[in-house]
């Protein structure tokens, strides 16, 4: 059981938990202040990084054929562009 738990997936889970707490703290009222635009952009970027980790390590896309992996990687880039673009320009 130990060898099953001590894997890359567990390390990725820990990173995801830490990033969630970081975003949560950033999003809290007291942390926003007058810099809510850069803070929001950081929160969006962290979210995209997190979904990339989920895709690559939990969904095991890093071991998938390049075409499937590229579709997912491209989606992450497009989503980052869409969300930041719409946030800033809409």
């Amino acid at each position: 059981m130990k060898s099953l738990v001590r894997t890359d997936a567990s390390r990725v889970w820990l990173i995801l938990i830490v990033l969630t707490v970081v975003s949560w703290t950033l999003g809290a009222d007291h942390a926003f202040g007058t810099h809510h635009v850069p803070t929001s952009l950081v929160i969006i970027a962290v979210a995209i990084f997190k979904i990339r980790l989920i895709g690559m390590y939990f969904m095991e896309l890093r071991d998938a054929p390049l075409a499937l992996r590229n579709v997912f990687e491209s989606y992450c880039i497009v989503l980052l562009a869409l969300l930041t673009g719409m946030y800033l320009l809409a």
Binding site: I44, L66, L82
Partner: protein
């Protein structure tokens, strides 16, 4: 850092070994469904941000009524459930560890079920405070996005229940393993969608 390494592709119908490199998790057709679902949510995210831009004050003010703690805890819940399902998939592929699969899958489902319980409490609090989808545009998007996601969580939990049943099979075929991987990927997609919905609705101002 590869978990699986280079191994031989198992013969059809025999107890499976870990997958070879360049392995499509689940059935290839499943990925069309997953990416289709993700695309629909992406359109909703863009529409939400477009309307947010038109009513920035209203959206920022309404966002204050949301309970960020519920949203964040639900993120931790889904991430932890996802990890348990990742471990269940890996155990299922291994002859030595397959006996751990039912316990891991049940634990993943139990932790995932907490999302639904927390969401019900969250909805109850909001409705008790007089907030419904018809209150204003922000809450309409809040209930549509979280409601649609909650539907996916429910479907995902049913899929996990099927995986628990499958996990009891001590001699799975390749098709069983592919189904198990596919079900797990659906559950990870549910997690992935929440990773975007939570900051978008609760945190980004």
């Amino acid at each position: 850092m590869s978990v699986f390494g280079a191994v031989a592709i198992p013969r059809r119908g025999t107890a499976p070994s870990p997958p070879a490199r360049a392995h499509v998790p689940g059935e290839p057709g499943l990925w069309i469904v997953l990416f289709g679902d993700i695309a629909v949510f992406t359109i909703l995210f863009v529409v939400y941000l477009a309307h947010r831009g038109e009513n920035a004050e209203l959206f920022a003010h309404s966002q204050q009524a949301l309970n960020r703690t519920f949203g964040a805890v639900n993120t931790l819940v889904l991430l932890s459930s996802s990890l348990l399902i990742v471990l269940a998939v890996r155990a299922y592929r291994s002859d030595q560890r397959r006996h751990l699969t039912p316990r891991l899958a049940i634990a993943g489902m139990a932790v995932g079920s907490c999302f639904v319980a927390i969401k019900i409490v969250e909805y109850h609090e909001m409705v008790a405070a007089g907030i419904t989808p018809s209150t204003n545009e922000f809450y309409m998007y809040y209930f549509v996005l979280t409601g649609l996601h909650l539907f996916h969580v429910t479907v995902g939990l049913i899929v996990l229940l099927v995986l628990v049943g499958l996990a009891r099979n001590t001699s799975p075929t390749l098709a069983n393993v592919a189904f198990f991987e596919g079900g797990a990927c659906f559950w990870h997609m549910v997690d992935l969608l929440w990773i975007i919905i939570f900051p978008l609705l609760f945190l980004v101002r």
